[in-house]
Subunit: 344 residues, 4 copies
Amino acid sequence: MKVGIINVTGYAGSELARILYQHKEVDIVSVTGRSSVGKMLGEVFPHLSQVNLRITEELDPNVKFIFSALPHSASAEKIKNYIDKDTKIVDISADFRLKNKEQYKIWYDYDHLYPSILKKSVYGLPEIYRDEIESSNLVANPGCYPTASILALAPLVNNKIITNDIIIDAKSGVSGAGRALALKTHFSEMTENMLAYSVNNHRHMPEIKQELDLINPNLNTSITFVPHLSPMVRGILATSYTSLKENVLSEGDKGQIQLLDLFKDFYLDHPFVEIIDSSPMTKQTLGTNNCVIYPYLDNISKKIIVISSIDNLVKGAAGQAVQNMNIMCGFNEDEGLKQLAIYP
Amino acid sequence: MKVGIINVTGYAGSELARILYQHKEVDIVSVTGRSSVGKMLGEVFPHLSQVNLRITEELDPNVKFIFSALPHSASAEKIKNYIDKDTKIVDISADFRLKNKEQYKIWYDYDHLYPSILKKSVYGLPEIYRDEIESSNLVANPGCYPTASILALAPLVNNKIITNDIIIDAKSGVSGAGRALALKTHFSEMTENMLAYSVNNHRHMPEIKQELDLINPNLNTSITFVPHLSPMVRGILATSYTSLKENVLSEGDKGQIQLLDLFKDFYLDHPFVEIIDSSPMTKQTLGTNNCVIYPYLDNISKKIIVISSIDNLVKGAAGQAVQNMNIMCGFNEDEGLKQLAIYP
Amino acid sequence: MKVGIINVTGYAGSELARILYQHKEVDIVSVTGRSSVGKMLGEVFPHLSQVNLRITEELDPNVKFIFSALPHSASAEKIKNYIDKDTKIVDISADFRLKNKEQYKIWYDYDHLYPSILKKSVYGLPEIYRDEIESSNLVANPGCYPTASILALAPLVNNKIITNDIIIDAKSGVSGAGRALALKTHFSEMTENMLAYSVNNHRHMPEIKQELDLINPNLNTSITFVPHLSPMVRGILATSYTSLKENVLSEGDKGQIQLLDLFKDFYLDHPFVEIIDSSPMTKQTLGTNNCVIYPYLDNISKKIIVISSIDNLVKGAAGQAVQNMNIMCGFNEDEGLKQLAIYP
Amino acid sequence: MKVGIINVTGYAGSELARILYQHKEVDIVSVTGRSSVGKMLGEVFPHLSQVNLRITEELDPNVKFIFSALPHSASAEKIKNYIDKDTKIVDISADFRLKNKEQYKIWYDYDHLYPSILKKSVYGLPEIYRDEIESSNLVANPGCYPTASILALAPLVNNKIITNDIIIDAKSGVSGAGRALALKTHFSEMTENMLAYSVNNHRHMPEIKQELDLINPNLNTSITFVPHLSPMVRGILATSYTSLKENVLSEGDKGQIQLLDLFKDFYLDHPFVEIIDSSPMTKQTLGTNNCVIYPYLDNISKKIIVISSIDNLVKGAAGQAVQNMNIMCGFNEDEGLKQLAIYP
């Protein structure tokens, strides 16, 4: 199958090229960019020099599957041209993630001009929406923080064992801030440094709330979400704090086992989620599409703490996009995504 | 004044030597170690080669002020010999931090043999106990996480504007794990990595609870504390989540100003605490005794989020120990501690 | 084909498991360790939890191909038991790299007890010895520094265009120092740090000299080799300085083109060597078996400077071992080694 | 004494502010910038919030001593206005380092318009030119690489024990590339990475050659200089390779002792140079004005290898500038520069 990548020149785009290059069912035939049109992909990204492609302004019309790695707003503008054609699309931007178009004005500061397309799109978290993705032509690939957060919390919300007050303290590697230059992500400023940003004000918060509330409409979650930058390239570690309802789990070690089972059951048929009974490291997911989750029951405070770890550029972006393509096209769900983590 | 350092060979001990070497009122005359007896300090720590001292097994009896940087239990054993003599002591270990000796059995797995000394000791957080420190001969230097956490929460607890459910998500540089070798802190394992550890089970949790409950005995806090390791040497960033009581702060921007004022008032006469209205970075405290605090009122969720930042080896250990000495001896509180942060 | 890894618990061993797990022609059926016998591989290396194997003390006798990742001396002791059986072996240790057994006494401080096996072994640098490797049952996998250095210098030595005075200034990521704990490689000591070690005294120097002198026995090279540690996990960057003979290359830009062509010709049929006309970064080889080489002619000083870059754990260890196996067993030379670099 | 800093907003400028703030003999009364005029210094650099100064466009006319941290060419334009007034100046740019004005056209691509000022300036390496600096009103502060390189090589050149072929392989922390944003120094690109740049083509090469040739005009050195970026903020490690002349040092260990003595004699009265007999780490100089040097005699190859280490922003820029001021003004040479290294 011929695939194309719109805006290959960011980190999500280049990661897509890396993964798709070794996917057995597809050929990358066309990659576009905004700043580097005319250059070979290997000139912009030396590690992609074997991917023998020139960056063009527009996609080859023969592509049957499109990944858009454009920023929000620009992505919708481009994607609208491919709707109702014989093309399937995964959009990595936020343009089709939020169901309510008014939210775009509030959180992204633009008017969403394509509400009818919005209605057709499916939120591309396969562990929740695999069936819908299978029959969709437009999948909105989730944000990196929402992926780590929703996967950590969905089993609790679904099983109705927590109250609605949820705190998510997330730590991200710097590649999450993208390839655009900024003082905050200048090497000398960012290394040996740690900071919070967008304190309870980040665009990924309404996305997390929307999805958790769709799983359990009665809960009406109150989400407190604080993202942090950590001096590493890749990885998200999300530590989520919730309060257990009364009498839903046993006391003592038995409760912890029930909790683990509840998570394992929820993700039984999902190859990329691993439930463990110890604290995960971001490094064990580096380069992979895995989400590793550690749910922990604290019997004294009656809290459930869930620690989840992903590679923000893989399960948090390009890898999940390929997983979505695999489902949309009937390929094996893990095709192109079997690589183990690079460690150490 | 002649000072000595017991167990100079760890990071707290070497940091004490670094700071004290430039303190105008003292001379380091004696340093002891456990593994490197007989070596010059500069052989173990090249950056201290100008501090022309040999590591001995026992302290010079002429020292008038002692810093103990031994591990807990070993520290109490050593310190007991200097009590009731004409010597003042700051203990960097945990041996005299917890008021209730039973807590040592629970959290540190040993029987505290010196309850009478415990009673005489003062918890060395100068921003709370300056007067008591001034007249004490034995000060228990706070832990690194408790320093960052208590300073972040004390104004809220003291002003009785929050409920008792407190979550502290702390991120520490790796020097907090000390100089003893371990696989987790091996460079290749720890770099480009992030992880939680001792999930709600860390020894610093009862210390935080003790101190907050002493400030406001009626609150009876429930503390959820999760420490994390971040791939950097120095720095703690603590993100604390609390719930605002009703009708204690105004709505909107006015509430944020009231909150900032409340913090500024609380720390009015304390030179090492800086209250800011933006998110701090650990790097701006690197090498300094400062604690930078950002209190944030979220009007929608009615949460107060407090982000605090220190250098774990300075305000979190050796610097605070010197600050305590300064108070105990009537020196200027900031003597030896005026150095600005190394940045970038 | 059933393969086994002796001493899987170091970084070369775990990297072998990572690569071989995705190799189409082989199954890892047996892994041994020294310290972790009885544990599952995933307990020691979480990123290998999918490789469902228990670490044993001895190899399964059914393996047809063995990788030894033991340290030198221990490796020869183990390997001798498999010689003259129907088993092929790649030894990652230094035990069969040096042709002259006396060198082991000088550089490795032990008496080599198996000179007859030494004679049968082939130095496993496929770009030089592919034919010999093809028909060998025992291949000595080159050291990481020698791989980067010999590949950088072989075309110059072979074409006889340089004098015999060669300086190699190599910078390595910390994983090259292995998984054994040491103060120098403790995170807090090694990060934000750079140092030279084994100044012109490193064991890899005689290995480099041996191989360059075998390529051109008349040159009798004088090698000055200084390795450095750089605060990163993976990667070797070797900067080699040589003096051009007179009248062997043209003046000006033409000479540079001749130089590039000479390198490209030398590595014409070798898929893992890439010759470029700009300065390489270690990061573009991260996780791959590639060696990227930039030869530069300085017309004023009449020096040829060659900068070469590899991933020390892949082309410098496990990847090259798999490349050797592929050649020894008639598989495609790049089977299992097609993965692109993880970037950024 | 009232001092001013022109262009405080780069790393050299902010480092000057950090050091001068604690200098007993001076007050910083005026700081200028190009991009941040009107802001408080603490808004641009949070670690300087105690330095209570507003960034202005022009210097306060009352300053008696000026540091210029402008880029080359712009610096000369500004400095020319203060010549022949009652003001002393240290210029951190390259504008007055090279004696021959034609060199500026070749290496910096501009015409030097102030050759008469050039003649009056002194090269500010105090270990070589202390007397000249003492009586100068305009000191050209050396480059970071030249500082590490010249100090490593001057004793050899001065004692005439090496031949003229010198190779300098230098590794720098990323702060050397400044605060201006660039893709190469973007955190995600630069971390876990190592690369060479400006291969034998760097502007600091003629500066090194000029100074070594002034020390020994007969040698006419041939300098091969390759700088590298290492994934750390601060520090330069320079590894210099030279060839020993015949019969100038004894064989064996005795030669090494002679070599060390020769270096120690050369720097006898210079407090910031430390000669050691083991390999230095950059980290032991972090935040200090020290240069640590390890000269090594290799008896087999007859090479002398010299490894030198500095903090590029201190001894390589701001610290050396303050050292020059101290000499120019008759202060203690180490005033403001006594701080020990931050370690780990």
